[in-house]
Point group: C2
Chain length 286, copies 2
DNA sequence: TCCATCCTCTGACTTTAGTCAGAGAAAAGT
DNA sequence: ACTTTTCTCTGACTAAAGTCAGAGGATGGA
């Protein structure tokens, strides 16, 4: 298995990686080219670019100056915070971007051109599969303090999500409170952006834990992240000596209910009075 | 379709490309790392390395000197040709190579580790598919002079192949001669190494052409190269005003016969006295 | 208000990457 | 025997990539 992955890595970096750079830099130094590509995805604060591309601030400053001198980007001071500078494309920059798009299409074209129709279809399908699974494997799940900004962001997205799904909306003040200091929270991130979470509230006296706040961002649905979060919560729970996992859920969350059943949870009598819950599940760990 | 390929390129270069380099260079400059990797596939003449990695001779010289100073490779003069120098790994170099292998495995591991079993299987299968098709698309087919060394190499491989397959072997002097100056030869190359060929001998008076010397190297079987060569020969023939394509073949070449039938050839009466032939096929082009 | 922090920029580097011209030795062609 | 070609190396470059220290303005918090 590992050997096959390695072989793939070799072939693909050779074919895609090498060409891509040479082709898409258009005589520009690679650093500048990458930066241009990044800026053209929309106006960007320099500090964001710096962290995304992991560049030294001095270096970035010079790269931007280069693009500015070519007339491709304009830089202006943020009106809200005069320390922050924002770069965006000039009309000439947008024209260049269009050209880059064209070249990128051309490159993709050369990859499928030698193949016949059925091979092309197979290639594109397999590429989609690889890409999806690679993205899934790029998601990083780790324990995070509930007060961390990323955790807060997850919570507000979670509540917003519930509000659109529940019949009659959702009011966080009505739901049973979960004290932040008594839970273990896992946050899933893709490119350092939070895309999902799940929490465990352990009740040591009963060797029991409640699964709470299971949320997966719509942008990463279908990657098996919900399943992964649940599995990791379970592993955590075992490590803490938990023998029973419990959770409650709303009847509108059909995928979640499917996930719980598939993961071995069985429906039980209501074990609390959570106002938004319609179903209660439990799973015995062995 | 193109959009999907582009999306794949982006994700994959990000995930595989970037990491690969950082991970496998071990503090060494990338040029040196690549070179080391190449040398460790076996003792290599510097001139081969130069053409394979497309490096300037002065540059290569310095890169090798660097690896030599680190004690990883030894360089010696070729006994047969004192101009040529050959590099190979020292024991320390082999140890380093082993370490690189380990890291490479580790990297592959991190790619599949976050996935569950079924996802892993899907990923590996899709990777194999992508890789195979990308290799297929890297094969370059073009008209080549039959006297070109690559063409000669194809011919000798072709004859050697026939000798192992035909009942009672194959003797090139017995077969019907095909004058080199009257044919159009297509040679398929992968990484500039010849891996297949196919020729067309046009008989203008009869608006007819014979397909000859169809050969695909065992190293690239299953990539649809035979089909591609046949299709390109057909396109060529059309361009030359040919209305009928003919070919003869030996009954031991079962895949070839299958290919001809699938490509629309139908079996006909013997139209020549080729001693090694058992089947004669023809196809009308419209 | 003052101080620590944040954000960007400039100057002064170092290291890689890569190019070009030519020297010197060996081999191949004539 | 000669010339040409092949192969490697050295010297002398340039450009890109990246690092480090610190200056200077803006902001946020105590």
């Amino acid at each position: 298995m590992v050997a096959k992955v390695r072989s793939f890595n070799r072939t693909v970096t050779q074919r895609v990686g090498a060409l891509d750079d040479a082709y898409l830099s258009r005589g520009r130094p690679l650093g500048q080219a990458r930066l241009l590509w990044e800026i053209s995805d929309g106006p960007s604060e320099l500090r964001r670019l710096r962290s995304r591309l992991d560049l030294d601030s001095g270096y970035l400053s010079r790269l931007v100056a280069g693009l500015q001198k070519e007339g491709l980007v304009a830089v202006e001071t943020d009106p809200d915070d005069a320390r922050v500078r924002t770069a965006r494309l000039t009309p000439a920059g947008r024209a260049e971007r269009a050209e880059l798009d064209r070249l990128s299409d051309e490159l993709a074209e050369t990859m499928i051109q030698p193949l016949n129709v059925s091979q092309r279809e197979r290639l594109v399908a397999a590429m989609a599969e690889v890409e999806q699974l690679l993205v899934a494997s790029m998601v990083d799940v780790r324990v995070t303090d509930p007060r961390h900004p990323d955790a807060q962001l997850c919570m507000s997205s979670y509540y917003a999500d519930l509000a659109t799904r529940f019949d009659g909306g959702f009011d966080p003040t009505v739901t049973r409170p979960a004290e932040d200091d008594a839970i273990t929270l896992l946050v899933a991130r893709l490119h350092e952006e939070p895309v999902g979470c799940g929490a465990l509230k352990v009740i040591p006296s009963e060797h029991c834990a409640d699964v709470k706040r299971m949320w997966v961002s719509p942008t990463v649905r279908g990657l098996g992240l919900g399943r992964r979060l649940l599995t990791e919560l379970e592993t955590h729970a075992r490590g803490l000596g938990v023998r029973t996992l419990r959770l409650e859920t709303n009847h509108t969350l059909v995928e979640a209910i499917g996930l719980y059943r598939a993961a071995g949870f069985v429906e039980v009598e209501a074990f609390n009075d959570e106002p938004y819950a319609h179903h209660w599940f439990a799973k015995t760990l062995d």
